[in-house]
């Protein structure tokens, strides 16, 4: 009897734990996205499948990868043993849009060597990306093709 109770508790805890850690979902529809504003050579037209919108990562225009969730990553450089790469990801969901922010920095001998910040706002059929790197920035907007 004790074992049965214990098993039930374990199953319940597992279920609850799963709910708490359920993957965050984004407000974006699958389909073909066309650039309506921004620089063509930095922001290309692209397509998203249903699977792409449900993954742990989402990639915009083949180049801008975002983690869907809040996280931090520190990893040593494979190129220079004196350097390491740091990344912070932020995730916010409101009723009308999902905000994903990613900050990447390279530290060499405790000093910042380079810094990149990407921010993307996802609405059902609209994507707005702002990208900053080494003191320069640009914004691109895509909209879903309806036909």
């Amino acid at each position: 009897m004790f074992l049965k109770c214990k098993t039930a508790v374990v199953i319940l805890l597992t279920f609850l734990s799963g709910s708490v850690h359920a993957r965050q979902s984004i407000l974006l529809e699958a389909g073909e996205y066309q650039l309506v504003s921004g620089e063509k050579h930095l922001c290309r037209n692209f397509a998203l499948s249903q699977k792409d919108t449900l993954g742990k990562y989402i990639t915009i225009a083949d180049q801008y990868g975002f983690e869907v969730g809040k996280s931090r990553h520190v990893i040593e450089s494979d190129i220079d043993p004196q350097c390491e790469f740091r990344e912070e990801n932020r995730f916010e969901n409101t009723a009308s849009e999902t905000l994903l922010v990613r900050l990447n920095q390279e530290y060499c001998r405790a000093k910042v060597r380079s810094s990149t910040r990407s921010e993307v706002r996802l609405q059902a059929q609209r994507i707005e990306l702002r990208h900053e790197i080494d003191g320069a920035s640009y914004t691109c907007v895509w909209e879903k093709q309806t036909q």
Partner: protein
Amino acid sequence: MRSLKAILSSFLALLVLTGFDGHQRYVELNGRYNGRSSANFYTHETNTLSVLARGTRGEVLEYRKLTSGNYGLRIKVLNGPHSGRVFWIYHRPRSSSVTLFTEAPPAWGSHSTRQTSSVEEAHGMEAVTDVNAKPAPSQDLVDIVNDSNEKMSSLQKPPCNNCSYQPVEGLDSLLRPATRRPVAKACSKLVSPTGTLGPQGQTLYETMAAPQYAPYYTARNALGDFCPKFNKLTTSEKLYAWTWFWTALAHEESSCDMTKEHKTTFRDRRGRLRVLNPHEGYGLWALERDRNIRRWRGAACSNISSVSGQAHCAIDIMVNTQLKRGRTAAVRGGGYWGPIHRGKTQLMPHMRRLAICF
């Protein structure tokens, strides 16, 4: 005499390093070693090309640290029957039968090696637990690479054993001579001016021929407009054409400099700071320098510190962003590399040198 020997021994002990930290450039084998075509050292692998005899000396072209803490060393043999050929050997620093040098000892060149005819004679220094990200090539692949190189050798001048710059002679080579914009001299490590695969070209070729990539790289019309006769080529010719494509792209991106740091911004005519690339690029094919940014690309791009690591990553990106999506290499308005979008002006002049494609 004894004191002289002691002094000489001390001197040699200073020169010779038993450990390996990536700075050693030369190696001498004190036992028999399997010479492999790739850095896969499972005992059951079929990538052993030859057995290297005791006394074999080589130059370390590249190394790879394995999960066990041991190393795979890619060496170019400098003496004996395999002189000029390139192999991977296994190196276990704690109990190795290799001697490593930071500089070539002056006495080298006066010794000969003993021939070994059988793979089974090579004693096993190799672990069975090391796993490498690079897939193990099959015996078919080894045959394809060897056949391809033999074919190229028979078509032209002697093969590029040291893979340095060789002058173009005649028009009977696989590559037509460059009329306007030759590729940088450093690109001869990929493909020599006469068309022979260099050590880095072999790595590219082998990686594309791996089971998970070959179906995409040999698929119908995979090179698109860059090689109109692609569908008429044999498998080895297709992979050779792709190797030349990667060489041309490496030239356009980095002048074949594997440590090239690619800029992210530039000043326009009005002096405004503009973005050239969304991420800083590195190496032959301007791969993303930041390892975190590369993270979502998967294991193939986890380490780009070596040419083989860069090749593996670039080959994987091409598959995932173009070939797997039904696109060819000559895609416009998508994909990773700028010179591909500007293919007509940047890549086509190089591709037109490949006679088998046009």
